[in-house]
C-alpha cells in the first residue's frame, strides 16, 4: 500500500521568524509518497508556521525544503509556482474568498489558474462538494455558512486542485462531532487512495488510525517523532509524556 | 521645451514668499481656532439642543458644506456692502473661512459627542465624580482622543486649501505673494515651484508636530504620512 518511501517532501533544519521572534528553531520532517504524517503539539508551538513555510507564505531563514529530492528555491517565482501547483493547503481559519460563492471558491483556481476545461471542473466540484455534504450550498457565500461548513468548502477547494500533497491544518477543530466523522471519513478515504498528507490534528483516535507517523512539536522544535503507537503508548521524553497525558485526559 | 529655468532670479523672492508663508500660518491658525469654537458650539447645539436649534444647525452645516468657500467669501466681500456692511478683505476672508470650516468641524466634533457612551458616564457617577468632574475627567478626554486625528487632519486642510483662497481677494498670503512676485520678472514656474515647496515643508512640519502632540497628550497614534 504505502510502499514507496522515497521522500516526497523533506524539511531539513528549517527556521522561521515573525519579525524578530524566532518561531521555528530547526524543524526536520520527511513525508514519503502516500504517507500521512500527523503534526501535534501545544498551541503556539509552530505547527501552522511549518505549513505556511512549506507553501512559501512565510520564508524560512535557515535550512531547506526539498520536493522529490530537489531543493525548492522560494525566491524563484517559477520554482515556487511548481511547488504550489503540486501542494494544496487547508488553512486553520479556512480563508475562503469572501467575495465568491461556494462554487466559485472551489472552481476559480482549476479554471483560471490550471486552465482545465469548464465542464470537467464543474462536474468535479459538484462531486467533491457532494462528498463533503454541501451539495445544497453551491450558491451560498462564506458569511452565510457555519464554521464547519466553511471548513468543508475549504477542503473541497483544496481537493479540486488535484494536489499530490495535501496539508491540513486542524480541519476538524470547528466541527461538531457528527461532522467530524464526515470530514475524517473524507480524509480516511484520501489516505486509502494513497494521497500524501501532512495533517495538524488533535483527534487522537483518528491520528492513531490514519497516520503513519506522528511528530510532536514544542516551542518551534521537534520533540519526538515515531509511529502513533510509539508516541502515544510509550513516549520517550518527559515533554512528550506531559503532552500526551494532557490530550488523552480530555 | 524651450523654457530655461532660472532659479537664481526666483530665489531672490524667497524672503517675500516666506513672509507670505507666515501670514498663511497665521490665517490657518486663527481660522482653525475660530472654526473649532464655532464647531464646538454648533455640535453641542445639534447633539443636546432643542428641535429648532438642531434644525438651524443642520441647515447651517448642509448649506456651508455644499457651496464653495470662495463663493461664500465673495458673498461677504461683494454682497454685504449692498446692505451697508463693509468689511475689509482680511475680515471677509477670515469670517468666510471660519464659517465654512466651522460647518465641517461641527460634524467632526459631533462624531466625538456621539461616541461618548452612557456606561462610561455611569461608571464615573458611581465613582462619586461630580458633574463637572465627570465632564472634565471622563467626557472631555474621551472626545479629545476620538476626534484628535480628524481635527489634526483638518488643520492641514485649512492650512493648504483654506488659506490659499485669500489670494483670490488679495490677502497677501503665500499664494498671493507668489502670484505678485512671479510677475516681477516673469519667472512664474520657478516662483510657484518654490511656493509649492514651502507649502509642503509647512504642512509636513505641522503634520509631524500634531502627530507628536497627539501621541504625547492623547496617546493617539496619528499617522504622519
Amino acid at each position: 500500500m504505502r510502499g514507496d518511501l522515497s521522500h516526497h517532501l523533506e524539511i531539513k533544519g528549517a527556521c522561521a521568524s515573525y519579525g524578530r521572534i524566532q518561531v521555528l528553531k530547526g524543524v526536520d520532517l520527511t513525508l514519503g509518497k502516500g504517507e500521512v504524517v500527523a503534526l501535534i503539539g501545544p498551541s503556539g508551538s509552530g505547527k501552522s508556521t511549518v505549513l505556511r513555510m512549506v507553501m512559501g507564505l512565510t520564508l524560512s531563514t535557515a535550512g531547506e525544503i526539498r520536493l522529490d529530492g530537489e531543493a525548492v528555491n522560494y525566491r524563484n517565482p517559477a520554482s515556487l509556482r511548481r511547488l504550489r501547483d503540486r501542494i494544496a493547503v487547508v488553512f486553520q481559519q479556512y480563508n475562503l474568498f469572501q467575495n465568491m460563492d461556494v462554487m466559485r471558491n472551489v472552481t476559480i483556481a482549476p479554471l483560471k489558474i490550471k486552465r482545465r476545461p469548464r465542464d470537467q471542473v464543474v462536474a468535479d466540484a459538484k462531486r467533491v462538494l457532494a462528498k463533503v455534504g454541501l451539495a445544497d450550498k453551491l450558491a451560498a457565500y462564506p458569511d452565510e455558512l457555519s464554521g464547519g461548513q466553511q471548513q468543508r468548502v475549504a477542503i473541497a477547494r483544496a481537493l479540486c486542485l488535484n494536489p499530490e500533497i495535501l496539508l491540513l491544518d486542524e480541519v476538524t477543530s470547528a466541527l461538531d462531532p457528527e461532522l467530524v466523522n464526515e470530514v475524517l471519513d473524507t480524509i480516511r478515504g484520501l489516505a486509502a487512495e494513497g494521497m500524501t498528507m501532512l495533517i495538524v490534528s488533535h483527534e487522537m483516535a483518528f491520528v492513531r488510525e490514519v497516520a503513519t507517523r506522528v511528530i510532536l512539536m514544542d516551542d518551534g522544535q521537534m520533540v519526538e517523532a515515531g509511529t502513533p503507537q510509539d508516541i502515544f503508548d510509550k513516549p520517550q521524553t518527559q515533554r512528550a509524556r506531559d503532552f500526551v497525558g494532557k490530550i488523552l485526559r480530555h | 521645451m524651450n523654457y530655461t529655468f532660472q532659479w537664481g532670479v526666483a530665489l531672490q523672492h524667497l524672503p517675500g514668499l516666506l513672509e507670505g508663508a507666515k501670514l498663511t500660518f497665521i490665517i490657518g491658525f486663527l481660522t482653525f481656532w475660530g472654526a473649532s469654537l464655532l464647531g464646538l458650539v454648533m455640535a453641542a447645539l445639534k447633539t443636546y439642543g432643542g428641535r429648532i436649534a438642531r434644525r438651524i444647525v443642520g441647515a447651517y452645516v448642509i448649506f456651508f458644506t455644499n457651496t464653495p468657500a470662495l463663493v461664500q467669501i465673495w458673498f461677504l466681500y461683494f454682497g454685504l456692502p449692498d446692505v451697508g456692511i463693509v468689511w475689509d478683505k482680511f475680515t471677509c476672508m477670515l469670517i468666510g473661512l471660519t464659517l465654512n470650516s466651522g460647518a465641517y468641524l461641527t460634524e467632526i466634533i459631533r462624531a466625538g459627542f456621539i461616541s461618548v457612551r452612557r456606561n462610561e458616564i455611569e461608571a464615573a457617577e458611581t465613582l462619586g465624580f461630580s458633574r463637572i468632574q465627570q465632564v472634565w475627567y471622563v467626557i472631555v478626554p474621551h472626545i479629545a482622543k476620538t476626534i484628535y486625528p480628524a481635527l489634526a487632519n483638518f488643520f492641514i486642510v485649512i492650512l493648504v486649501m483654506g488659506t490659499s483662497i485669500g489670494s483670490v481677494i488679495g490677502v497677501q498670503e503665500l499664494t498671493s505673494q507668489a502670484k505678485d512676485l512671479a510677475t516681477v520678472d516673469y519667472r512664474y514656474l520657478e516662483v510657484f515651484t518654490i511656493a509649492a515647496a514651502i507649502y509642503v515643508v509647512l504642512t509636513f512640519v505641522a503634520s509631524i508636530t500634531l502627530a507628536l502632540v497627539g501621541r504625547w497628550a492623547f496617546r493617539v497614534k496619528a499617522k504622519i504620512f
Binding site: 507553501m55 467575495n99 486542485l161 | 448642509i62 455644499n66 464653495p68 468657500a69 461683494f78 514656474l189
Partner: protein, 225 residues
C-alpha cells in the same frame, strides 16, 4: 435695498443670463467629472504600483509615494497655476479648459490614490495568502480578490471626494475658465448686486452638490451591509 433687488431681478434672470449660467454649470460639472474619472484611473495605477514589491519597482514606488505626499500638501490653486505656466511653456495654445482638467486630474489622483491604498490595505492578509497558495498571479489577486473586496471601502470616500471637489473647482475661475464662479464674478462686475449674484451662484452649486452628496451617503449605506 429691496427696491434695488426688485428692479434687478427681472433683468438678472433674463434668458441670456440663465443660458450663460446653465452653460457655466455644465462646464463646472464636465471638468470635475473628466478630471476625477481620469484621476481615479491614475490613482488606481499608483495604488497598484505601491503594492508590487521588489528592487525593480522601487523607483516607481518612490515616485508614486512622493507624488501622493507632495500633491496632497499643495493648495489646488497653486497646482492650477503650476500646470498653467508649465503648459504655457511647453505647449502654447492649449485651452484653459484642458489646463483645468489636467490640474483636477493631478489633484484627484493624489487624493484618490490614498483612498484606494487604504481600501487595498483593508483586505485581510489571509485572503491574499490563500490565493497565493493557489498560484494566483499578482494581477489575478488584484482582479479577483482585492478589487472586489475593497471597492465597498473605496467607493464611498472616493465619491465623497469627487462631490466635494465640485466646490473646489470654483478656484478654476482664477485662470479664466468660464465656469460657474467666473460667470458670477462677471455678472457682479456688470453691476448686478453681489447678494443676488453670489446668492444665486451659491444656490446653483448647492443644487449640484447636495443631491450628489445625498446619493453618496445612500451609496455608503448600501455598500455597508
Amino acid at each position: 435695498m429691496l427696491e434695488r433687488l426688485a428692479d434687478e431681478i427681472p433683468r438678472f434672470f433674463s434668458w441670456s443670463n440663465m443660458l450663460l449660467l446653465g452653460e457655466a454649470m455644465a462646464i463646472t460639472l464636465a471638468m470635475t467629472l473628466v478630471g476625477c474619472v481620469l484621476g481615479f484611473l491614475f490613482a488606481f495605477i499608483i495604488a497598484f504600483t505601491r503594492q508590487v514589491p521588489g528592487i525593480l519597482t522601487l523607483p516607481f514606488r518612490t515616485a508614486a509615494i512622493l507624488f501622493v505626499e507632495v500633491f496632497r500638501r499643495i493648495p489646488f490653486l497653486v497646482v492650477l497655476f503650476l500646470v498653467l505656466f508649465f503648459i504655457q511653456a511647453v505647449a502654447q495654445g492649449t485651452s484653459l479648459f484642458t489646463v483645468a482638467v489636467v490640474s483636477i486630474c493631478i489633484y484627484s489622483t493624489a487624493y484618490i490614490a490614498d483612498i484606494i491604498r487604504g481600501g487595498f490595505e483593508s483586505v485581510a492578509r489571509q485572503q491574499i495568502e490563500a490565493a497565493q497558495a493557489m498560484n494566483f498571479s499578482r494581477w489575478q489577486i488584484l482582479k479577483s480578490i482585492i478589487v472586489p473586496q475593497s471597492w465597498p471601502v473605496v467607493l464611498p470616500p472616493a465619491v465623497a471626494f469627487m462631490v466635494g471637489f465640485i466646490k473646489d473647482t470654483s478656484l478654476v475661475s482664477q485662470i479664466g475658465v468660464f465656469e460657474l464662479t467666473f460667470r458670477g464674478r462677471e455678472l457682479n462686475n456688470m453691476g448686478f448686486s453681489g447678494i443676488l449674484v453670489f446668492g444665486t451662484i451659491a444656490f446653483l452649486y448647492f443644487a449640484i452638490s447636495y443631491p450628489l452628496a445625498r446619493w453618496g451617503q445612500w451609496l455608503e449605506k448600501r455598500l455597508a451591509r
